[in-house]
């Protein structure tokens, strides 16, 4: 801290001075443990959670913090949970190991995993976050000291990543109480020897799609149980398992939660299943309807739902408990907005018209476009909603085109439209561009008339580069899989479910060890490295990121009956 500034007028300096005084008084007065706050437990959890997750003090003021002695930070920018993660079990990123910070762990002796060790000093890399490797248990008093002054019970200083928090006694005691309660009891549906899972299927799903989902799921469960058998043999023969092995093998079971009738009744049905036999997580699932009731149920129950097959996920920046493959139809609408936004030669006054089939898919595509178009600061476009029968009436469509004279036309419709498309396009100016969704058109996408293919741009949310990885994440031969016109309309239920299980989910389940907390499963999964997938160019993770495939190509079709897919955009357009 530097007090030789000429004036103390700026608030920054005032805070520094205040903090110095605080530290001085704290060091001299500091002896007693903070008294437990005189508040009901629910209130402590609420206030403590806000400190831990949002960096806001019970008073509503931001929590002050310091890094490296003098780098002052405002904890609303980043909080305990930014580093120790939501479940409080810590993280490993950027060569820094952030240790657990739950009462369960802090009040026991602990051997901290060393931070990234000696990387050969190449390219300017070096060790920068060394850790003290062992410590005795904390108590409330030494824990308060740790948070205020950055030292463990033996007086060793933490490395520079962990901030120092000059908290008043009452605030400190709320935070410590919160840490004591954080991830205290294991989540339902998991135990030392078992994981219970369910999958969700709604009654609008065909038998064929249902089987496509269930086959890989049941295989996964069988495989887990078989591995457990092998592991038990291994122990029987007198081998000693490593620490990681001890937690990688558990019995697993899968229930099928069938949802019947109107979506308004689903939550009740889900609650009945879950109360009867709670599960640790929902693995996959499938519905042709809006996923929202299930999404909301999982949020409310804090129940992980991993990668359901749905074209109608909930688009939310704060949703926590459902991992989606992508944003479904909305992502295709968004891709068009991004693409048009980046077009050099599209003048700002080109009229853009959205013709939307009055259906959930049409509306989701349009909403995805509108949201993104608005986000990039563009004015709203004209949207016209039509019924399926209006869409196949050439006269009705012609009237709309004459009236609006669009330069860009977005057709968020089913394939019925395709037969009239050449006639419609003939009426439009030569510079006209038409956008359609391959997911909505389905198989018929390949049948777009040849003479208009140069005008028609198609959203395609799947991989185009030949896939040369393994199909299942196992030891398969590496035969490149090529995407082509034959793949239009394929929902890839089995391959997507297999990949999410074998790549993303298994990794997460193995890495939680004996920390059987649902929040921890998300923490661990969100810290995964990017994955190359069979159906998508890439899955990418990160705390709070819940739509793991971020891409969607804009393509055009080559000539012929089995046209080549010609990318006109990158996988992700920024």
């Amino acid at each position: 801290m530097n007090l030789s500034y000429p004036t103390l007028k700026t608030p920054l300096l005032m805070i520094e001075l205040f903090t110095l005084l605080f530290f001085l008084s704290a060091t001299s007065l500091f002896a007693a443990a903070p008294p437990p706050p005189n508040l009901p437990q629910g209130e402590i959890m609420r206030l403590g959670e806000r400190m831990y997750r949002e960096g806001v003090l019970p008073s509503g003021a931001p929590m002050p913090a310091f890094i490296r002695g003098d780098v002052e930070v405002d904890s609303t920018a980043f909080s305990c949970s930014s580093c120790h993660l939501r479940a409080g079990l810590g993280s490993f990123e950027g060569g820094v190991i952030t240790p657990p910070t739950t009462g369960n762990k802090l009040y026991k002796p602990y051997i901290r995993p060393p931070s990234l060790g000696v990387i050969a000093d190449r390219d300017g890399r070096d060790v920068y976050a060394k850790t003290v490797l062992e410590r005795p248990p904390y108590n409330r008093e030494t824990l308060a000291t740790a948070l205020r002054f950055g030292t463990d019970p033996t007086g060793h200083s933490f490395n520079d990543v962990m901030p120092r928090y000059p908290l008043a006694d009452n605030d400190m005691s709320i935070l410590i109480n919160y840490l004591e309660l954080l991830s205290k009891e294991p989540s339902p549906g998991a135990s030392k020897d078992e994981f219970r899972f369910a999958t969700i299927i709604t009654d609008d799903v065909s038998q064929e799609d249902r089987q496509a989902l269930l086959r890989p799921l049941q295989q996964f469960i069988a495989q887990k149980n078989q591995q457990l058998g092998m592991y038990n043999d291994f122990i029987k023969f007198g081998y000693t398992p490593t620490a990681e092995m001890k937690y990688a093998f558990r019995r697993a079971s899968l229930d099928i939660w069938e949802l019947k009738g109107p979506p308004t009744t689903w939550q009740k049905q889900l609650a009945a299943y879950n109360n009867n036999k709670p599960v640790f997580a929902v693995l996959g699932g499938i519905s042709n309807s809006d996923w929202r009731p299930i999404h909301d149920f999982c949020e409310a129950e804090r129940l992980p739902c991993l990668f359901p097959i749905t074209d109608f996920p909930v688009i939310s920046e704060t949703g926590w408990y459902t991992y989606y493959f992508n944003k479904g139809f909305a992502q295709e609408g968004e891709a068009v907005a991004r693409y048009l936004n980046r077009m050099e030669n599209l003048s700002a006054d080109t009229p853009i018209i959205q013709i939307v089939q009055d259906s959930p898919a049409g509306r989701a595509l349009a909403a995805g476009f509108d949201k993104n178009w608005n986000e990039v600061g563009r004015p709203a476009v004209t949207t016209i909603t039509l019924t399926a029968s209006q869409l196949v009436d050439p006269a009705a469509l012609a009237k709309i085109l004459t009236k609006h004279k669009p330069g860009v036309l977005l057709f968020w419709t089913e394939a019925g439209l395709l037969q009239n498309l050449p006639a419609l396009i003939a009426r439009l100016p030569a510079t006209e561009m038409v956008f359609v969704s391959s997911s909505y058109l389905g198989r018929q996408t390949a049948n777009i008339a040849e003479n208009i293919r140069n005008k028609v741009f198609i959203t395609f949310p799947y991989r185009l580069n030949p896939y040369v990885g393994t199909k299942t994440g196992g030891f398969d031969a590496k035969i490149p899989i090529l995407t082509g016109a034959k793949d239009f309309g394929d929902r890839r239920i089995a391959s997507r479910t297999t990949a999410m299980l074998q790549q993303a989910t298994l990794q997460g389940l193995n890495m939680i060890y004996d920390n059987l907390y649902r929040d921890h499963l998300f923490d661990v999964m969100s810290m995964q490295m990017d994955l190359v997938m069979r159906d998508y160019e890439r899955f990418s993770f990160g705390p709070g990121q819940r739509y793991v495939s971020k891409g969607c190509y804009i393509i055009q079709l080559g000539p012929g009956e089995n046209p080549t897919l010609l990318p006109r955009s990158e996988w992700v357009v920024q």
């Binding site: 920054l12 920018a77 930014s82 990688a248």
Partner: protein, 194 residues
């Protein structure tokens, strides 16, 4: 026979599991940060800033204002907060002395970091004008990382790095590690020649 096969498969499996699970366990002497002076060739690419505007990267690295570059991403834990806190503090300190600096954060998560996310990030850190956050295509981002000898194949394995461009000769002071705000300010002053 059956057992042997099983055991082999199991060993394979376990080898795989432990390979993915175990972190590097060596560790070395404490050192705060490491400083070198480098020359970099900046690729001629166009990135997108937090306002959604296209920015030609080379155009940021000209003129007589020192430029500081770091690599972060919107949802990152652990080091980005620390790096970004360093940026805000430096902005604050230089505002007091009336000195100029241009701060440039480049995302290493270009697929997720949209202008909107980057804008919110800067707001969260109370960044003042003069601190830009850039995204772009993965190919372009990879080429920037390579140009600064900072290529990482995956964002989860990044490390704390600041680079200060000296406007006098275009050289870069490369600072690896976490600095106190006094050290950071000193490094800045050494570049501007004070």
């Amino acid at each position: 026979m059956r057992v042997t096969l099983k055991t082999i498969v199991l060993f394979l499996l376990l080898a795989l599991v432990s390979a993915t699970l175990s972190a590097n366990s060596a560790h070395a002497a404490n050192k705060s940060y490491k400083r070198t002076v480098e020359k970099y060739t900046i690729p001629d690419i166009v990135l997108v800033n937090q306002d959604g505007k296209k920015v030609r990267l080379q155009s940021l690295f000209t003129g007589d204002t020192p430029v500081i570059v770091d690599f972060i991403y919107g949802t990152c834990t652990t080091i980005c907060p620390v790096l970004s806190a360093g940026f805000v503090n430096l902005q604050g300190k230089l505002a007091v002395t009336g000195q100029k600096v241009r701060l440039v954060s480049i995302t290493i998560d270009p697929e997720n970091d949209t202008p909107k996310i980057m804008k919110e990030y800067l707001k969260r850190y109370r960044a003042k004008p003069g601190w830009d956050f850039l995204t772009g295509s993965r190919t372009d981002i990879d080429s920037v990382m390579r140009a600064f000898n900072a290529y990482i194949p995956d964002k989860m394995s990044h490390y704390p790095l600041n680079m200060i461009r000296n406007p006098k000769d275009g050289s870069w002071v490369r600072l690896f590690g976490i600095m106190s705000s006094r050290e950071f300010l000193e490094e800045y002053q050494s570049v501007v020649g004070k």
